[in-house]
């Protein structure tokens, strides 16, 4: 009973948040200096007439509330509009970008979470020992590095010096060209090719992200170690592993769940830095270009994807929380 009311409340809050975010996205773009035609107008032979024609075509001559209602109506029908820059439907371009971004960023994020958990638990367990110091040092070291610099260094080592991994893109151009002219290329070969291209950007992301988890896991665990029920668990003669996992970690992971949910939510946002360094044609690059060009529908679409993804993951975290911590629902 209480449970279902809690779920309903959370879902309602998530829907409301999405609506507010969508409205903000819409307004924010129109408050930015410049408009979608400011760049097109610089095109050779572009005249004032062309510009006006474009403004009319995009519907930008309409009053703001009119544009807003149109946007909401089309959104309700699942229509994200046509890109101002290439006249292609936004939806299909977003889906394409998501397909490239999500696997790469997921691999990076999951690796970061696993690394952070391991380093965090190790640091907390060996509190005061050299093990703790080296664990936190390594985590902080990578956390402090600029993403793009680390990416470049990894390229230098693994692509240039060792020659083990490709440095850019997501396919070997030769392989793709061969397939395009009809040479039989097995799908496992393509998959393996993509995987090797994915490794460096993913690992760059994992390395710069995992330090945050290490610190959160470590401090949450240390706090829990000080709790009376952990002392009691030890007093009960339980094995250290049982005390750690069943009593300490179980409670320490509550704040970590929120952090994990947030980062999973941001997976759909891609990573502008990593995608730029490795020329990974994902949603990060897409939104970056769209912002440059004031491509309203594209930015709105990209932001919508990020909004929904973050809000949804938070909702999942809230619901998961209720399962993990029985105190929440009451």
């Amino acid at each position: 009973m209480k449970q279902s009311r809690y779920v309903l409340r959370r879902v309602w809050a998530a829907l409301l948040t999405t609506y507010v975010a969508v409205t903000f996205n819409f307004l924010l773009l129109r408050l930015m200096p410049g408009d979608p035609t400011s760049r097109l107008a610089r095109v050779p032979n572009g005249t004032e007439e062309t510009r006006r024609a474009l403004v009319r075509q995009f519907g930008l001559d309409q009053p703001l509330w009119r544009q807003y209602l149109d946007y909401l109506r089309e959104l309700g029908h699942g229509n994200l509009g046509i890109s101002y820059t290439n006249q292609q439907p936004v939806t299909s371009q977003l889906l394409e970008a998501l397909r490239t971004t999500v696997p790469m960023v997921t691999l990076g994020t999951v690796t970061a979470i696993v690394l952070g958990l391991v380093f965090g638990v190790v640091a907390a367990w060996w509190r005061g020992h050299a093990v703790e110091k080296s664990s936190t040092f390594v985590s902080m070291f990578f956390y402090a590095l600029p993403t793009q610099w680390l990416g470049l260094m990894l390229i230098l080592v693994f692509s240039v010096m060792l020659g083990w991994l490709p440095s850019a893109g997501m396919h070997d151009p030769g392989l793709m060209a061969a397939r395009d002219i009809g040479v039989p290329v097995s799908s496992t070969a393509v998959l393996r090719d993509t995987a090797t291209h994915m490794l460096l950007p993913s690992m760059t992301l994992a390395l710069v992200l995992f330090g945050e988890y290490t610190l959160v896991v470590r401090s949450a665990l240390l706090e829990t170690f000080g709790e009376d029920f952990v002392l009691t668990a030890r007093a009960k003669g339980l094995r250290p592993r049982v005390v750690l996992i069943r009593h300490a970690l179980r409670n320490a992971l509550l704040p970590v769940v929120t952090l994990v949910a947030l980062s999973i939510g941001f997976i759909a946002g891609g990573s502008i830095l990593v995608e730029t360094v490795f020329s990974w044609p994902g949603i990060g690059l897409l939104s970056y270009d769209a912002i440059q060009a004031r491509d309203y529908p594209m930015i709105q679409g990209a932001f919508l994807v990020i909004t929904i993804s973050v809000v949804f993951c938070n909702l999942v975290a809230d619901l998961l929380y209720a399962r993990l911590d029985p105190r929440i629902t009451t």
Binding site: T232, L238, V242, R246
Partner: protein, 332 residues
């Protein structure tokens, strides 16, 4: 004579505080014996080493603690072997109710599961039997057995305290250590818990070590009282004797500082503070605060003197009797 059930001999605990910090001598030579069914009250001001002594008995001190001395169960030292020799006795021979035991339960697991887990993994009970016994134990402390499926936050403070007591009894220990089991509870609940504690220890023939700074409570509940000051036991004796004829000035002054319903008696307060554990001490630890301190007290540490068969005190004037018997308002 047979071996005492629990014997603590010259127990010392020192905390090391970093490579350059002064070592803190928190427990400085504590010895006592406990027989089956006996109730010992351990009394002293905050920071005198009561809780540390208790935690040492459970082997639960933090890693920066250095322990020496002996803890013998039926004549066998369980301290020497460290964690390995300590763990088999935890909760099976010696169990504990913690200070603020309301937080003794993991908030994410049910009460029943947490009581049951003390019985499992020791070849004692299968899952079903352990859970059934958890319910029975809850019933024993006056909690409806169906609360076993509830989470800690769904129980009141007093109930959680009872549940903690039930958990301590799960493996039928011989010794129960209770570290201020009634702090943070209101007076009515305190009385209930204490009554329960008394009844259960009597019924089960449990030996009890009750740590508290509530003197009247100790006199009422315990057979013997051990007074602790600055890491040492300064006086041990039958509760009634300490109440009426304390041999150590500290005990006497502490009793005199206890409010009473007797209007004729004035409550006197104990001035000063106990020495810090990093202080160098010369002479009697209590001398600076003692109202009877003489020259010898400031230069020589007193030996433990036997006042009567059951009554010892660490005071230079312990065996001169008379002077300390004049507790104002207590004996007239």
């Amino acid at each position: 004579m047979t071996e005492p059930m629990l014997e603590v001999e010259d127990l010392r605990v020192t905390f090391r505080t970093g490579p350059r910090g002064t070592p803190l001598d928190v427990v400085r030579g504590v010895s006592f014996r406990l027989e089956q069914g006996q109730r010992l009250g351990l009394v002293g001001e905050s920071g005198c080493g009561k809780s540390t002594t208790i935690l040492t008995l459970m082997g639960l001190l933090p890693p920066n603690a250095e322990v020496s001395g002996a803890i013998r169960l039926d004549g066998v030292d369980i301290l020497q072997g460290g964690e390995r020799s300590m763990r088999p006795h935890r909760w099976t021979d010696i169990a504990m109710v913690f200070q603020g035991a309301m937080n003794a339960f993991n908030p994410t697991r049910t009460i029943g599961a947490q009581i049951a887990e003390t019985m499992r993994g020791r070849g004692r009970a299968n899952r079903k039997a352990a859970h059934a016994r958890a319910r029975a134990l809850l019933g024993m402390v006056g909690i409806p057995p169906d609360r076993a499926d509830r989470y800690p936050h769904e129980l009141s403070g007093g109930m959680r305290q009872r549940a903690a007591l039930a958990m301590a009894l799960a493996n039928e220990p011989r010794v129960l250590l209770a570290d201020e089991p009634t702090t943070a509870l209101d007076v009515m609940i305190q009385a209930q818990i204490l009554e329960l504690l008394e009844r259960l220890t009597a019924e089960l023939g449990l030996a009890l070590v009750l740590v508290t700074h509530d003197l009247p409570l100790v006199v009422e509940t315990c057979d013997r009282v051990a007074m602790m000051y600055a890491g040492r036991l300064v006086e041990i004796g039958p509760a009634a004797t300490l109440f009426t004829a304390a041999a150590h000035p500290y005990t006497r002054m502490l009793f005199a500082a206890t409010p009473s319903l007797d209007l004729d008696r004035r409550v006197t307060s104990l001035t000063g503070a106990p020495p810090r554990p990093d202080q160098e001490l010369v002479g009697c630890d209590f001398a600076p605060r003692c109202d009877r301190a003489e020259t010898i007290c400031h230069v020589m540490s007193p030996r433990t003197t036997r006042v009567t068969e059951q009554h010892v005190a660490a005071c230079h004037f312990a065996d001169t009797g008379e002077t300390h018997r004049l507790v104002p308002g207590v004996v007239r």
